[in-house]
Subunit: 324 residues, 2 copies
């Protein structure tokens, strides 16, 4: 964890998880953590529930586009932001929330540990779930050559041959990282050229380890006990030790759909410009919302978290007659 000097005296004392919370934040990515900073600063009794310290950005070894850091690892950035939320009294609880129920004016959150938590307001910041190729043997070979996280697994492919499926920023970041370890990185993408940030594409195109397989899809995964290669739908075969699948992600609606939270066709939570959902006292922030023109970047998720917490604070003052 990056050490940060605390010039401002001790943190505000955090709430206990079993008292009635003013605010429960579900998700420990940049949106949730920033909501935690703001909610804590507004002196709302806040708990943030997350299974990992950090969200999608934990996969990024080098974050370069978050304003304030020319380069920082996703891990370090998230540690800093979560620490900042804790500094303002937000309690970070290592718990997966599996269900939310409304009882009168209180929401009951069911944790995977069996515990329940009561809260007046909720910010959903659970992010997105990674998409799979949908091929036979994909689940079986997952963790045996097939991976969805280059940051997590890239290190195991030192001097090996790997493939990356996808053309997005995430795919580019994975390919860049893998090229540090692997002897060869094949990029496999269905379109004519990667659609990632041009700057990243120039880096990849200048990298002698990287070879592009455009206009191609993975048709078949080879290998039984572990991945041995792939067959593409243009007939080519590649011998691979690892395949990193970076074809996007989608919101998981299981948690909040039962509450009647409105989503768009693709499952993204509809929010207004104050990050309010259609259900009073439920807000959403980060990658799973329709906000910010759907633009998914760290700084945007952070802003949405700040806005959600501010809307909740105003609601607490005005509607819940909270005297803080």
């Amino acid at each position: 964890m990056a050490e940060q000097e605390n010039k401002k005296g001790p943190a505000i004392h955090p709430p206990k998880a079993d008292e009635l919370l003013d605010m429960a934040i579900i998700g420990g990515g940049i949106a949730g953590a920033t909501a935690g900073i703001y909610s804590g600063r507004y002196l709302l009794k806040t708990a943030l529930f997350t299974k990992t310290k950090g969200g999608a950005i934990l996969d990024s070894p080098d974050v370069e586009n978050y304003p304030g850091f020319i380069t920082i690892s996703g891990y370090d950035l998230m540690n800093r932001v979560l620490e900042q939320a804790q500094h303002y009294g937000t309690l970070v609880v290592n718990e997966i929330i599996e269900g939310i129920e409304k009882q009168d004016d209180v929401f009951i959150l069911k944790g995977s540990s069996g515990k329940s938590y009561k809260t007046k307001q909720v910010i959903i910041a659970t992010g997105l779930i990674r998409r799979k190729l949908g091929l036979p043997k994909e689940d079986k070979l997952s963790g045996k050559g097939v991976s969805y996280c280059a940051t997590c697994d890239g290190f195991f492919y030192k001097d090996k041959v790997v493939g990356v499926v996808g053309g997005s920023d995430a795919a580019a970041l994975s390919a860049m990282l893998l090229s540090k370890y692997a002897s060869k990185v094949y990029v496999i993408y269905r379109r004519e050229r990667m659609r990632c940030e041009p700057y990243w594409l120039t880096i990849l195109e200048d990298d002698p380890k990287v070879e592009f397989n455009y206009n191609a899809n993975v048709a078949e995964l080879k290998g039984e006990e572990k991945l041995e290669g792939v067959k593409l739908d243009n007939g080519n075969e590649l011998k691979l030790d690892g395949l990193f699948i970076e074809i996007g992600s989608e919101p998981s609606t299981d948690l909040f759909a039962p509450l009647g939270v409105e989503v768009d066709k693709r499952g993204y939570v509809k929010v207004d410009d104050g990050m309010k959902t259609n259900i009073p006292r439920i807000y959403a922030a980060g990658d799973l919302t329709t906000g910010s023109a759907g633009f998914k970047q760290l700084v945007v998720g952070a802003a949405e978290g700040a806005i959600a917490a501010t809307s909740a604070y105003h609601y607490a003052k005005k509607e819940l007659k909270d005297t803080r």
Copy 2:
């Protein structure tokens, strides 16, 4: 300036100010600087025009609510973000833009130095002009007890005595927030009673920490190195550690009004969720827009800058057939 290690090799070579720019960003606050990071990373030839390195936040000695830094000065933060923009090739030009004209498909920017600049697209990020009291020493004591942002600076006045000048919702919100920290909050307002939302006024009137000084204006700021108090025009004197001036702020529309950029009643630039104005190839970001529910915070301005640059990049690809 905070030194930042550059792990990624030399910066992209910046454009020359006299060539046709892909992007001109007007304003060097957090919104403009973040737009500069993104625009540079998109390989758009970008110049950022500003008279100061940093915007409104330069007034804040201790920024605590920007995610990633438990505490950082506005000056250091802005240096870091502007440096990051320069790292990606954005040219920072020390120049006040005094006029914008459209000639065919190009915008001509007139600088106060007499120079002109040509650009395909523009992001307006000129922020707001804070209304000041107009008193001697007001500028000198700014950041030394005199503040224009309770959300930014209120936390530093734990157990201190503060004043709030103004009667608006913003003044009420500031007073409410300050009462959490301070031992005493004097509201100083020129009329008979605050004109904020009545509910907020009831909260303030029930708050034993809050004392109202109505029908009064600040006549004099006391203190040399830091604020020590104020003298009111009714003859009363108040000993204060901090004075929060909340008499409003407003966008300056002189620059873009002649182009037909649509604004709301109060002069804020109307934007969609992609930060586009009604004029193609003109975007706006930061405090002067109607975006993000009007919530004015660093991280929100940064996000708006990122979104504006992204919209411009997509426009360049699609409409200007830019091949980058």
